[in-house]
Symmetry: C2
Subunit: 296 residues, 2 copies
């Protein structure tokens, strides 16, 4: 009756919000991995992982973490992927699947693919899930429930490897969809990367105000500003790497947004109520569609 695990041993390179959520789920249900190995950059993180008890083994050396694993999941900030891929390449078992959870897919493919040895499968993936918290304490088993995981498999990748990663995410509670890497990066630029860039920026703008106004920003934040600060609390290194690794799509979306914001500013300056109202109505259309799709 028991479903056998998808993998004998999963190695999680990076054990923050996403990695530790996968580990917690794999620990709770027996059908994902027979053994869970966690790797992090610092022994302090690994000590904490052992205290939290969701890994069978911790390894400070990525090469030791991946040895003997049939699934290696990159869960570090995307800027660390190239060095990680280079480091682990000689230690990967034939037939092993490398996958990842990064929010940019073209850069991940660019950085990882050249290091993937013959006989090892690489299946880029991105679970669209997160909170503003980070680190191994932040993970939880329901993080991926009802959320999408986007796979951007390369042409010629073994379909069996793609299916195993799809099934891993389904067992984590996620819905799975395949997408072109370039299209993924463009969609994520507008639904995630630009909103985060804007939220970080407006918080920085407020932080730069003179002391008295800054104090009152904090006091009266509930008036709309607060909604922006939640997503601005996310991990700085992870987001720095995302911005740098989805540069073109992010800059294009920011450019479109800036043009739209400037057009709104011009209508405010010169007093064009019809334009302002029309633009607000357009923005609301998206919200209504979300409500109709039950995504709001």
């Amino acid at each position: 009756m028991t479903t056998p695990p998808l993998f004998k041993r999963i190695a999680l390179l990076g054990i923050g919000l996403i990695g530790s959520s996968v580990a917690r789920i794999a620990r709770e249900r027996a059908d994902i991995a027979g053994e869970i190995v966690a790797n992090a950059r610092t022994q302090a993180t690994l000590d904490r992982v052992m205290e939290l008890g969701f890994a069978d083994r911790v390894e400070l050396d990525p090469a030791r973490a991946v040895a003997g694993a049939d699934c290696v999941m990159l869960c570090a900030p995307v800027g660390a992927y190239e060095a990680l891929a280079q480091t682990i390449a000689p230690y990967l078992d034939p037939g092993c699947i490398i996958t990842d959870v990064g929010s940019t897919k073209q850069s991940v493919i660019r950085d990882v693919t050249p290091h993937v040895p013959a006989g090892v499968h690489f299946v880029p993936a991105h679970p669209l899930a997160g909170t503003e918290y980070s680190g191994p304490d932040a993970g939880f088993t329901t993080l991926f429930q009802g959320r999408w995981t986007l796979l951007t498999p390369l042409p010629g990748t073994d379909p069996g490897a793609v299916e195993k990663i799809s099934e891993l995410w389904r067992r984590c509670g996620s819905m799975v969809e395949a997408m072109e890497p370039a299209h993924h990066d463009r969609v994520l630029a507008i639904v995630s990367h630009l909103p985060h860039l804007i939220a970080f920026t407006i918080c920085g703008t407020a932080e730069g105000l003179e002391e008295e106004s800054r104090a009152q920003v904090l006091k009266f934040a509930a008036s709309g500003f607060r909604d922006f600060t939640r997503i601005a609390a996310s991990d700085p290194v992870m987001w720095r790497d995302i911005f740098l690794n989805n540069r073109e799509a992010l800059l294009e979306m920011l450019q479109r947004f800036t043009e739209d914001a400037q057009a709104m500013a011009r209508a405010v300056r010169w007093g064009d109520p019809a334009y302002i109202e029309h633009r607000i109505q357009q923005g609301r259309a998206i919200r209504r569609s979300l409500i109709e799709l039950k995504q709001a």
Copy 2:
């Protein structure tokens, strides 16, 4: 033992989210007004108000609504205030207090003050409360609980009138603070008006994408974008009027934000990880302060 009502009769000119919440509270507790009169631009709204049952009387003519009232509260979009003030001026009883709930205070003072008859008191006010819903159905009695109401009284205003409006808002559950009108407009520009302008704009930017991307924006909106759409669902006419009536402060804050966003874009384009990380850290400082102040 029963506290007498602050006012014999309150006339609410505009009966949307804010006006109908005040009416519901005044209806529930007997110590705000002996009689509640509601005015709106359309008979359909007034019919709905009578169905909802939180007003003693409805009047389509603002002049008839204010006759005999000792408190008149302007609860319409701020762009309608000047015409309303002009219309009602001849019908105001001596000793009556005019107050308002508008999100811009310098414009309200500019538009209303010239029409206030001798012997009538004008106390500008702004409850910092709202949801993305509008209309007489949207109000509820706990809307102002634990929220701030900012009063921007003019020099020379009768202190008794200011105190009565303060007490009205305290009885509505609000905390009350006085502020200079110009300072109010500047603080609100950054905590409320700019976040709304940005949220409307990014939703419009997404709406303007080609059809396939737009569909995927909706599908994957949970990745950050969704947080922006909630505040973008707010009432278009109300927000149009706020933008046009807080022009200078809003444009200044948008200019600061745009400079900061462009600096971030430049760092992304030219690959300056230290700058990006520093700006993200700065933005997070605001969030940490909010958490410390228990406002997050």
